[in-house]
C-alpha cells in the first residue's frame, strides 16, 4: 500500500484481482471523487445502506476494494495521465463491456512490476509486439497519442469540443469525465405466476391445443376453388335443447319439415314457410331423446327417456300410438318403411312394426353399451348401429326371417373405434359405403365397405365426432365435432382431404345434425341452444330433370321412392 501512489500498475493489478469495476477505478486515477460505488453515488449514506440490503447485486460487491480505493487520496494530475497511459482502448472496451481480462497480458506485466518498477524513460521490451498498446513498457509513444487514448478510454462525449482541448481540460482540472454504472434501486419482480399453477397449465395445454390451427377460426383452406360460406345461413333459437351426446334430437324429413326436441317438447319447423308449430309434449318426468321422420316424411317417431317410442302424424300433429317395452332411454331411431327401429340404453335394438298391435317384431342384441347411433340403409338391406361399447355393428335388414325372440348376430362387428360411436351415415351414392365416427378419445372417422367388411379409409380429426352427413350430390361428407374445436368439417371422398373447416360453429360442442331433403343445407344443433343452417353443398341444376325418373336421391321434397305406410 505504501508504494501504491508511485506505481500505477500496482493499481491495475489490485483492480483485476478484486474485479472492481474498471471504469470507476480509472476515474480514481483522475479524481477519487468520481468513483462509482454506492456510498458516494447516493445522496444519504443511510439510504444507501438500506438500498444495499435491498439490492442483491450491490450486496455481492466486495467491500475491501471499495475501502482501499476510497482511502486513496485525490491523485495528482501527473499520476492521472500516467495511470491512464497503460490502459489501452481495448482494456477500456473490456471494462465497458463488463469483461475484465484476468490473466491477460497486462496482468502478467503487473506481476513483473511488483518486483521492479522501471523508470519511465527506460526503453525495454523491444521484442514486444508494437501493436500491444497495453504494454506500458513501451513509453516511446508521443504525448498526443496518449492523450487521445485517454480520451477514448473515457468515452467522452464526441460532441464536446476538440479532443485535445477536452483532454487538457480534464488533465488540468481533474474534472470527472466518466461513466457511472447505475441500477434501479429495486430488483425486478419475481414472476407472479405460481410455478405449480404453471406446471398444471403445462399439463392441460394439450386439452386446449387446437391442432392444425388455422390462421383464423373461420377461414377455409384448400386449393379448391369452391367457396363454402363459413357463416350460417340462418340461426334459430332452440331454448332448452339438451346438451347430451347420446341423444339424436334433430331430424329433417322428406316433407321439408325439421323436427327438433327441446327437452320434453317437440317442435316442427317448416322450412318453406318458416312456421314453427309445437308437435307435442312428452309425459311428465321424461324428455324426447330421439327423433326420426318416416321415409315419406308423414310420420315422426319420437323416443323418450323412459323407453317409450311414440308415433306422431306430422300433418295433423296428433299422436297415433305409443309403443312401450324398452326399459331405459331410447337414444336413436331409424325408419325402414313401416318398421321403426329403436336403439336403447341397455344395448338392445328393437324393430317396431308400426302397423300392428304387437309392435315388436325383432330384437338385435349385439351391443353391451348404450346404442347411440342407428341408421338404416336407404334400401332397407342393412342396418348400422354404433354403441357406447365402441362397437359398430352392421346387421342384415331382412327382419322377416327372424322370428320374434330370435337372436340374430350382426353381419359385421367392427371394433376399431376407441370411443362411443354416435356418428353413423350411409353413403347415398355408393350403397356399400358406411361412415362412422368415434367419440372424444377416438375422434376418428372410419369408412367401411359393408359388402366386404373392409375398412377403406380413416381420418383422424381434432375432436370427438358427433355426427356425419354424406352429400347426396358430391363426393363429400360432413362431420360435426365437439370440444375443443366445436367445428363443422367437410371432407372429400375418397381423398379424405379437408375441404372446409368451420371452427367454433357453435359456442359449445356441435351434437346434432340433419341434412335437408334436397341435400344442400345441413342443420346443426348444439348445447348453446341454437340451430344453425349451413349451406354446404349446391343442388346440381342440370341433373334435376333426369333424376325425376325414380332414383330416390331426395332432390325434391317428395320422392317417388317413398312408400306410404298407410
Amino acid at each position: 500500500m505504501s508504494y501504491l501512489p508511485k506505481t500505477p500498475s500496482r493499481h491495475h493489478r489490485s483492480r483485476s484481482e478484486t474485479k472492481t469495476p474498471l471504469t470507476p477505478s480509472l476515474t480514481s486515477g483522475l479524481n477519487a471523487l468520481s468513483l462509482g460505488f454506492p456510498r458516494q453515488g447516493s445522496s444519504s449514506p443511510a439510504k444507501t445502506k438500506a438500498d444495499v440490503s435491498i439490492n442483491p447485486f450491490l450486496a455481492s460487491r466486495p467491500a475491501s476494494p471499495v475501502r482501499r480505493v476510497q482511502s486513496r487520496p485525490a491523485s495528482p494530475i501527473k499520476r492521472a495521465t500516467s495511470g491512464s497511459l497503460h490502459v489501452s482502448d481495448s482494456l477500456q472496451r473490456q471494462a465497458s463491456s463488463g469483461v475484465i481480462r484476468k490473466g491477460g497480458v497486462e496482468s502478467r506485466i503487473d506481476v513483473i512490476t511488483r518486483d521492479y518498477v522501471p523508470p519511465r524513460t527506460q526503453k525495454r521490451s523491444r521484442s514486444q509486439p508494437n501493436r500491444d498498446t497495453r504494454d506500458r513498457f513501451i513509453t516511446a509513444r508521443d504525448m498526443t497519442e496518449e492523450v487521445t487514448a485517454t480520451l477514448d478510454m473515457m468515452s467522452l462525449n464526441p460532441q464536446s469540443a476538440s479532443p485535445g482541448h477536452t483532454a487538457r481540460l480534464a488533465a488540468a482540472t481533474g474534472v470527472p469525465i466518466n461513466r457511472r454504472v447505475l441500477a434501479y434501486h429495486e430488483p425486478p419482480p419475481p414472476s407472479s405466476s405460481d410455478p405449480l399453477l404453471a406446471q398444471a397449465r403445462e399439463l392441460v395445454r394439450p386439452l386446449y391445443a387446437r391442432p392444425g390451427a388455422l390462421p383464423t377460426s373461420t377461414s377455409s383452406s384448400t386449393g379448391k376453388s369452391r367457396k363454402i360460406s363459413t357463416t350460417p345461413e340462418r340461426v334459430l333459437d332452440a331454448p332448452g335443447m339438451l346438451d347430451d351426446f347420446y341423444l339424436n334430437i334433430v331430424a329433417w324429413g322428406a316433407q321439408n319439415v325439421l323436427a327438433v326436441a327441446l327437452a320434453e317438447n317437440t317442435y316442427l319447423w317448416r322450412a318453406e314457410s318458416g312456421d314453427v308449430v309445437q308437435l307435442g309434449e312428452m309425459p311428465e318426468g321424461t324428455y324426447a331423446s330421439a327423433l326420426d321422420f318416416s321415409m315419406d316424411g308423414q310420420y315422426l317417431g319420437v323416443g323418450s327417456g323412459s323407453g317409450a317410442v311414440e308415433l306422431w302424424d306430422v300433418e295433423t300433429q296428433t299422436k297415433l300410438r305409443t309403443m312401450t317395452g324398452h326399459s331405459t332411454q331410447v337414444g336413436c331411431l331409424s325408419w325402414n318403411q313401416h318398421v321403426l327401429t329403436s336403439g336403447c340404453g341397455d344395448g338392445s335394438i328393437w324393430h317396431h312394426d308400426v302397423r300392428v298391435a304387437r309392435h315388436k317384431v325383432g330384437e338385435l342384441t349385439g351391443h353391451v353399451g348404450e346404442v347411440c347411433g342407428l341408421k338404416w340403409r336407404s334400401d332397407g338391406e342393412l342396418l348400422a348401429s354404433g354403441g357406447n361399447d365402441n362397437v359398430v355393428n352392421i346387421w342384415d335388414g331382412r327382419i322377416g326371417d327372424v322370428a320374434p325372440g330370435t337372436r340374430a348376430g350382426a353381419r359385421w362387428t367392427k371394433r376399431n373405434h376407441t370411443a362411443a360411436v354416435k356418428a353413423i351415415a350411409w353413403c347415398p351414392w355408393q350403397p356399400s359405403l358406411l361412415a362412422s365416427g368415434g367419440g372424444t378419445s377416438d375422434a376418428t372417422i372410419h369408412i367401411w365397405n359393408t359388402t366386404t367388411g373392409a375398412r377403406l379409409h380413416s381420418v383422424v380429426t381434432p375432436s370427438q365426432v358427433t355426427s356425419l352427413q354424406w352429400s347426396p350430390h358430391k363426393k363429400e361428407f360432413l362431420s360435426t365435432h365437439g370440444y375443443p374445436t366445436n367445428a363443422v368439417m367437410v371432407h372429400a371422398y375418397p381423398s379424405m382431404e379437408k375441404v372446409v373447416e368451420i371452427r367454433d360453429a357453435h359456442d359449445s360442442r356441435v351434437l346434432y345434425s340433419a341434412i335437408s331433403p334436397n341435400g344442400d343445407v345441413v342443420c346443426t344443433g348444439a348445447g348453446d341452444e341454437n340451430l344453425k343452417f349451413w349451406r354446404v353443398w349446391e343442388v346440381p341444376k342440370v341433373k334435376k330433370g333426369k333424376e325425376k325418373e325414380g332414383s330416390r336421391s331426395g332432390t325434391g321434397s317428395t320422392s317417388s321412392g317413398i312408400l306410404s305406410i298407410r
Binding site: L22, S43, N55, S60, I177, R180, Y184, S193
Partner: protein, 209 residues
C-alpha cells in the same frame, strides 16, 4: 394555380422522436431477451405485432411496470444524452454470478456541421428493418448461447455520464456485474441507427469451455 410543392412526407426525425424510438426498442428487446432466455416463464408472455413481426411481450403487470419505470428514466437520460450504455444482465438466482450480459451501446450520431445541406433523412421503414434484424438476432442467439438450467433473475444497468441527473433514491451506483474475461465469450449483434442515435448491441456470456 401553380402546383403546390410536394410537401416532405416526413420531417427529419427529432431528438425526441428518436429517443422514443430507442426507448421503445429497448422495451421490446428486453422483453424478447427475458422470454428467449427463460428468465420469466413463457406463460407470462403474449404475442404482439410490432415492427412487422410478432414480438413476445410480458403481461405480468409487476414486470411491465418495472420495465416501464426504468425506461422512463432512460428516456429522460436519452433526451439529455447522458446515457451511454444499457446493460441487461442475467444473473443466476442462487449463486449470483452473471451468466449473460446484453449490452446496448448508445452513441450519438455526429451531425456534419460543415455542410449546409441537412443530412439525408433515414426512412422509418429502414430503421424498423434494422430493429427487426436485431430482435431476430436476439431470438436466434438461443442457438449458440449456453442452456440455462438454473433459475435466473435479471438486472438492468445503465452507464451514464457523471453529470447525469440521477434521481437519488431510485437509482444507485452498482457493480457492473461483469463476467471474467477468461470465462466469457462475446458476440456482436447488429446495430441500428436513427438520425440521432446509433445503438450497437452485443452479448457476452459465461462460457467455461
Amino acid at each position: 394555380m401553380a402546383p403546390t410543392k410536394q410537401a416532405p412526407t416526413r420531417q427529419a426525425i427529432t431528438l425526441k422522436g428518436s429517443t422514443n424510438l430507442v426507448t421503445e426498442f429497448f422495451k421490446f428487446a428486453a422483453n424478447t431477451i427475458l422470454f428467449q432466455r427463460g428468465v420469466y416463464p413463457a406463460d407470462d408472455f403474449h404475442m404482439v405485432k410490432k415492427y412487422g413481426q410478432t414480438v413476445l411481450v410480458t403481461q405480468d403487470l409487476a414486470l411491465e411496470n418495472y420495465l416501464e419505470r426504468i425506461l422512463k428514466q432512460v428516456n429522460k437520460w436519452l433526451l439529455t444524452g447522458s446515457v451511454t450504455q444499457l446493460v441487461l444482465a442475467i444473473i443466476s438466482k442462487d449463486s449470483r454470478t452473471t451468466l449473460e450480459r446484453w449490452v446496448f451501446d448508445i452513441n450519438l450520431v455526429e451531425q456534419p456541421t460543415n455542410t449546409s445541406e441537412p443530412a439525408p433523412v433515414k426512412p422509418e421503414a429502414e430503421i424498423q428493418a434494422e430493429i427487426r434484424n436485431i430482435l431476430k438476432q436476439i431470438v436466434s442467439t438461443v442457438t449458440f448461447l449456453p442452456v440455462i438450467d438454473e433459475p435466473t433473475v435479471f438486472n438492468i444497468l445503465t452507464y451514464t455520464t457523471e453529470s447525469a441527473d440521477v434521481p437519488a433514491d431510485e437509482w444507485v451506483d452498482t457493480d457492473p456485474l461483469a463476467i471474467e474475461a477468461s470465462k466469457s465469450q462475446q458476440v456482436k449483434l447488429r446495430n441500428f441507427s436513427t438520425d440521432v442515435h446509433r445503438i450497437e448491441a452485443m452479448v457476452a456470456y459465461r462460457y467455461e469451455g
